[in-house]
Symmetry: C2
Subunit: 355 residues, 2 copies
């Protein structure tokens, strides 16, 4: 019997999730407000059926951000399974998580995309090697989190746990402001009608790279900017301050300040972790956790803030009473970096490298 | 007998030019202030010999910008050939061209690069499909220009002629300011020590694309910023003004202004001419040119400002007296766009599509 999943919203990400699960043996039901898009997804074999599967064990809400909360509530209300797990893929997590708290809803954000759109752009391998953020909270049911982690890992993605607010601050720096800057640079280059053709002819690799994300669909950005304005505005302020300093450096011919900026940037760029490269060795951490809410979120988001992916996650129940053991599989090279602060917070942790 | 070329400066671009010519049957002599680098180029077969070939018919100066003028003068003084053609590859053309005017020196700028360095990074196919700007002036010997155009075209590059100042304004928009912005974004992301690891872990494709150029060697940038400060500073000013407006848009939740910015950027990005795609049809333009200085620069840079590449160029001497005929091969779809302004400037032009 195939495992059953539901995808609500068959844009690029929803269709890619559907396709990825279906490729891996799941039975997929998909829905979209646009009937034609759902029909196209079925035609392409991205989903098995169009509609709502009340027997699905997991549901991915891949609608625009403003539609996530009602969609999640509908799914939970309509499901025949008490164990239904629901997640979403919206780019900003704070507003959703603060509006909707439910033990079986674990908000998420796959850090992958493409310039393609809809079911026709679906790529079942889109998430291979990608980082997929999950934002567990004190309310999160640990078994829902571990089950979701395992499904996401099966798509090839690396799960990182972060608190919703921390996620939103980080994506402002790493995604939202770069996107707005890319669009601004492109629009700057595009606004000179006289030299336009010559300008575009000169656009070499660097400019093409920097403006590639500006080619994507703008549809999601008004919601992202509304939902994450609180994090985006301060980052834009810092960017403007720094560019003003760069302007001064160039105007003054301040060679040493320029070299130091460029060296700093180069070294940060070269230290970007390689995408999707699995560690040569992993370690299994066993954390004894008291049976109280929020422990799962505390342990996993602590790892996330340290930049540590969770490659596998399991909850073993302890024979010693009302406690469990959280088993996390992480990069062996980073294990101590996680163990030390966990112990500092009073957790009993043992670990060993695993093969 | 092999044609002979000289390359001065065996960094990435110089080595790639040497390798590209050598692959295409030339005999290459190379030199570099760092003897070890020149030796490495010989060892790798990027050049045939280390030193200076006084019998070379063409010399490429690929030194740092500040060393270009003396290197060009040395080459011209030391050559045994009156017909020696010299060009350079510096990223800013105005200061060099205003300092050094010589009929056989045609300044240039190949719009190609990579994050590699030196002879080990040499790629003989680096220029295939790339735009290579040449900046002829009133002094330029037309036969030097046409010969250089033909050698560059043989490396697979598309020649665009621009005046030195126009080149510098355009690269400020398309290259220098994007580079400085990329470094600023990278440094912004790199400066948060606490969340650094988590931040870097989230860096998905868009951020990697936008910061790729920041990974390149910073060595050339202090010279570029000094030499082109006059064009870079106003573009930085416009960028800062526009980002300040973006900040307002986000802070105010001005959805329509945001959508319009992103749509404008998307449409400009989608209209970038595809890199290195040759036109389906070319046209041969025959321009009757009076025998006076500067005509070649006038005609070719007019095409360049219209974003028109010169795929081939020849000077046919007319039997009718002190005039010549400049034969330009350009994209047939753009031929009229060039012919009309040429005629408006009083040139006699005929053209036909060629197969």
């Amino acid at each position: 019997v195939k495992r059953r999943a539901q995808v609500v919203g068959l844009g690029l990400v929803g269709s890619s999730i559907a396709g990825a699960l279906r490729t891996r043996g799941w039975y997929l039901t998909g829905s979209d407000l646009e009937a034609a898009r759902a029909g196209r997804a079925a035609e392409l074999g991205v989903v098995d059926a169009v509609g709502t599967d009340t027997m699905a064990e997991i549901a991915f809400v891949a609608t625009p951000a403003s539609a996530v909360v009602p969609a999640v509530l509908d799914l939970i209300a309509g499901s025949e399974l008490a164990e239904l797990i629901v997640t979403d893929v919206a780019g900003v997590k704070g507003p959703i998580v603060s509006e909707l708290s439910h033990p079986r809803f674990v908000a998420g954000h796959p850090m992958a995309g493409s310039e393609q759109e809809g079911p026709d752009g679906a790529d079942p391998e889109l998430f291979v090697g990608a980082t997929w953020v999950l934002t567990p909270t004190d309310e999160t049911d640990p078994s829902a989190f571990t089950a979701l982690q395992s499904v996401i890992a099966s798509l090839g993605a690396d799960v990182v746990a972060l608190s919703p607010d921390r996620h939103d601050e980080l994506v402002a720096v790493i995604s939202h402001v770069p996107h707005l800057t890319s669009a601004t640079l492109m629009s700057l280059a595009g606004e000179s009608p006289v030299d336009h053709a010559a300008l575009m002819r000169l656009a070499a690799g660097g400019f093409r790279d920097m403006t590639r994300i500006a080619a994507g669909s703008p549809a999601i950005w008004p919601d992202i900017c509304r939902d994450n304005a609180g994090a985006i505005v301060p980052v834009l302020d810092r960017l403007i301050v720094q560019l003003t300093e760069v302007r001064r450096i160039v105007a003054d011919g301040d060679r040493s300040a320029l070299s130091s900026l460029l060296e700093r940037a180069r070294s940060a760029r070269q230290n970007l972790p390689p995408r999707g490269v699995r560690p040569v060795a992993v370690a299994e951490l066993r954390v004894v956790v008291p049976d109280r809410p929020g422990v799962l979120a505390e342990v996993t988001t602590l790892a996330g803030e340290l930049g540590v992916n969770i490659y596998d996650l399991e909850i073993a129940h302890s024979a010693e009473g009302p406690r469990g053991v959280l088993v996390l599989v992480v990069d062996a090279a980073l294990a101590e970096a996680v163990v030390t602060p966990l112990r500092a917070r009073g957790f009993r942790v043992s670990w060993r490298t695993a093969s």
